[in-house]
Amino acid sequence: MAPVLISALEADYILKGIDDNLRADGRGRLDYREVILETGLITQAHGSARCRLGEGTDVLVGVKVDIGTVDIDGTEEEVATVKAKRGRVVCNVECSPIASQQFAGRGADDINNELTQMMSRVLNGPQGGLNLEKLCIIPGKACWIVYIDALVLDYAGNIVDTMFMTTRAALFNTQVPKAIIHDLGDGEVEFDLSEDVEEWERIEGWEHVPISVTLNKIGSRHIVDATPLEELTTEAKLHVMVNRNGKICGIQKSGSGSIEHSLLNEMVQEEYDINEKRMRNKPVEKLGFFAAT
């Protein structure tokens, strides 16, 4: 059960440990827990992935693509013409009550909303990496809508990073059905979906989807990948999302503390460096070894 209160003594113990670069589980300040990533678990979804971080945090992401209409009303003409040729991404994050007792009933509403909006901000738009133009079927009328649904199954700290990693893996795994367009003449266009599963294509742009690094500010130091107890002693968190090309796709601070100005620049730089390294060394593992433990 994730704790919601922490004693001053415990908090002090964590603080002093972090000062000496030795955390409660033996990690250094910038060490991540072991990542187990598995894709293609859910046959009904067009793409899926599950990630376990250490013994704790477990996030499952399912991607389904559906046909929908293009949403262009209320915008200027220039913007509308661009939007007419694009697909859409709709994100939803849900922290299941089985993950932690604090998520029971309406307890998870706020955190669900916050995580959903965070993911939407990053994935919707060119910084999200996906080739939205490729998702258009008939310009102005029909397009593919990519529904990304994340389910947090177990909470042991650091949901945001796990969420983005799993989403990237799930998008890697996503296959979009092929749409065959029939031109009926007179400007009338119709489309059909190909029955042949072999013709389904992998969604384009998955490798440019960003991942995030969360730095937790504790005392005058910062750590990555916090456990629940460490999260309780955190004053402020800074999430930085970086993509494969080294571009920053989003920055968001959360938590009720503040960050010194000089420290902010340092943290962003450090997260950027960490992100770069992780992008290089961690190709998405296609085959899963069963994450049963």
Binding site: I72, D73, G74, T75, E76, E77, E78, V79, A80, D110, N113, E114, T116, Q117, R121, V122, G125, P126, Q127, L238, N243, G246, K247, I248, C249, G250, I251, Q252, K253, S254, G255, S256, G257, S258, I259, E260, H261, S262, L264, N265, V268, Q269, Y272
Partner: protein, 260 residues
């Protein structure tokens, strides 16, 4: 049964797409790098900030930046409705966009985006308010956006306005929290962008900063930007916040000066 007595409108209705005349392409800056309203890229807009707008509230403020108009009312500290004891005060922010404030009509009820923005304002203001002096109490901040001229600059203005309103309510604070925003357009940083500029942006940055303590209380960035540009934008926003700070102090001193 088909109703033949009335003329039925179409079942599905959508908002119109505004078609511009063919020759008028929006040009965001001219040869001298001046924007459409005559500002430079790094200039922020003049701010009108006044307190004491709402008679019923403990503290209130009204901010007007270009066409953005935001009113904020603070009620508190008052007794908290949460049954469990908490040693620190509780901050509750509700931000609401008036249905007529944006280009597309907004629903009268609170939607997910407003809840998220409320959470952002809370995170920006909490570090500055001495909530530890107000156990078992709640401070309610209600922000109404009357006209929205760019979402990023609107949110920044809301944080600034709320901070002044809390100070106007006489609640003890560590520092005022000005906030500023910037847009990334074509590899350049446009400070305090309006709606037209926002349509062309590839990203935005909102930063709220406590100038006396030199601490950033909130940062939010979206879009595809490289690190160097981000760092520069953070610098520019911090400088802008220092300028806005003096405007905030002035607006709080004004009613006191008048009575002397």
């Amino acid at each position: 049964m088909v109703d033949r007595r009335r003329i039925q409108g179409p079942e599905v209705s959508v908002a119109p797409i505004i078609i511009k005349s063919a020759d008028k392409r929006t040009c965001l800056k001219d040869e001298h790098s001046r924007r459409r309203d005559g500002r430079n890229l790094e200039d922020i807009c003049p701010i009108f900030l006044k307190t004491g707008l709402i008679s019923q509230a403990n503290g209130s403020a009204f901010i007007e930046i270009r066409r953005t108009k935001i009113a904020c009312g603070v009620y508190g500290p008052r007794q908290t409705k949460i049954p469990s004891f908490s040693g620190k005060g509780n901050l509750n922010v509700e931000i609401k966009f008036a249905p007529f404030s944006c280009q597309k009509r907004r629903q009268p009820y609170r939607d997910a985006q407003e809840k998220d923005l409320s959470q952002l304002v809370i995170e920006a203001l909490v570090p500055s308010i001495r909530l530890d002096l107000l156990p078992k109490s709640t401070i309610d901040i209600y922000i109404t956006v009357l006209e929205n001229d760019g979402t990023a600059s609107c949110l920044a203005a809301a944080i600034t306005c709320a901070s002044v309103a809390v100070a106007d309510a006489g609640i003890e604070m560590l520092d005022l929290v000005p906030a500023s925003s910037a847009s990334y357009i074509g590899g350049e940083i446009y400070m305090d962008s309006d709606l037209a500029e926002e349509q062309h942006e590839t990203g935005y940055l909102i930063l709220s900063y406590m100038p006396s303590l030199k601490e950033v209380t909130h940062i939010l960035q979206s879009g595809d930007v490289d690190l160097a540009l981000t760092t520069q934008a953070i610098e520019q926003c911090t400088d802008a916040c220092s300028k806005i700070y003096s405007v905030m102090i002035n607006s709080l001193l004004l009613p006191i000066r008048d009575t002397q």
